[in-house]
């Protein structure tokens, strides 16, 4: 596990922290460590940007762990995540045949934030536009 991830907190409390996590940093983590890295950041109110997104299996675990951590009676605390990646286009090559042909695609850049602080304004194959607010 890489070293501590939090350099400093926002001293004024006026900002929104954005963590840009490199593919290299994520590569060193196990699937659950990746999920933890993301959710720990998001639960602190940060926007997490992954240079390379998660695998489908990891996305599935992220949804599952996110659901387990929502406290329905305390929605101000954590009500889930907003996650955006560029949509895939064309024929899928992520299946068995694609992988056998060496065509496993790299997961695209991914933006994840607290559901109550990030709102997607527009998304297409080339642009993700989001509005981020303070809690």
């Amino acid at each position: 596990m890489p070293e501590a991830r939090k350099p400093t907190d926002d001293p004024t409390g006026n900002g929104v922290r954005i963590d840009l996590i490199s593919a290299q940093r994520m590569e060193e983590l196990t699937s659950m460590e990746k999920v933890r890295e993301i959710l720990d950041g998001v639960r602190e109110g940060n926007i997490v940007v992954l240079e390379e997104g998660l695998s489908p299996e990891e996305e599935s675990r992220l949804i599952e762990v996110t659901m387990a951590e929502i406290s329905p009676d305390r929605p101000d605390e954590f009500s889930g995540i907003e996650i955006e990646t560029y949509p895939k286009t064309g024929t899928s090559e992520s299946g068995l045949l694609g992988r056998l042909m060496g065509k496993e695609s790299t997961p695209p850049l991914t933006v994840i934030g607290p559901a109550d602080q990030i709102e997607t304004l527009h998304k297409d194959e080339t642009l993700i536009s989001a509005l981020v607010s303070r809690k």
């Binding site: 695998s55 949804i63 599952e64 387990a68 929605p75 907003e82 895939k88 024929t91 992520s94």
Partner: protein, 213 residues
């Protein structure tokens, strides 16, 4: 997950399915909340068994537990295919109880529904990874299909090498656009239907027999 491990898992899943050719397949009905999954499950179950699977509602997250209807025998072109259909809770990445207050629900009920909804989504994801042999992915054709949940779920299904049939539901509504769904998922066949009205169910059953038989 490493490429080698991923390939090994995929090959294992494919061979498991090949050798289990004669076993009854479990077909999961997946999709976002309010796409009409339970309405479809009930339509299929009523058409072929006479029973329903679960209650339908316009309030999101009515289905909060996966429900399985076993031994649904569908006959097509003189052949029959027997499947178990699994109606799953709608998948989302966020649940806020205040959403349910808009449907005149008491706060305690809304909180309880939220808690059960989160458990249901986690359960649906587990079923998808471990316990289904094929997927019927239901989308509301009046809504934008280019959502992150749809992108992620279809990606997860593809990575599991599961056969998937995409259904564009609610074609009885004026705002319906089947083409928008075809554009979103051009790598898969999209079948239009109205599960509520029973429109185009013949083609749906033909495709179920073709994909999962």
């Amino acid at each position: 997950m490493g490429l080698i491990k991923g390939l090994r898992d995929s090959i294992s899943r494919v061979t498991d399915r090949l050798f289990a050719e004669d076993e009854q397949k479990r077909i999961g009905i997946y999709g976002p909340p309010n796409a009409g999954k339970t309405t479809l499950a009930n339509r299929i179950a009523r058409d072929w068994t006479g029973d329903a699977v679960g209650p339908e509602s316009r309030i999101p997250h009515e289905t909060r537990r996966a429900r399985r209807k076993e031994n649904v025998e569908i006959e097509r072109d003189g052949k029959s295919v027997t499947i178990d259909i699994v109606d799953t809770p709608g998948v989302t990445t966020k649940v806020d109880y205040e959403e349910f207050l808009e449907y005149d629900m008491e706060e305690d009920d809304a909180v309880r529904r939220s808690r059960e909804a989160t458990e249901g989504v986690a359960e649906a994801m587990h079923w998808l990874r471990e316990d289904v042999d094929g997927v019927i992915y239901v989308l509301d054709s009046t809504e934008d299909p280019f959502t992150q949940v749809n992108t992620m779920l279809v990606g997860i299904i593809e990575s599991q090498d599961l056969p998937v049939l995409i259904l564009a539901n609610k074609i009885d509504l004026e705002e319906s656009s089947v083409q928008r769904i075809r554009n979103a998922f051009p790598q898969h066949e999209t079948i239009p239907l109205s599960a509520l009205e029973g429109d185009n169910m013949d083609e749906v059953y033909e495709k179920i027999a073709e994909y999962f038989g």
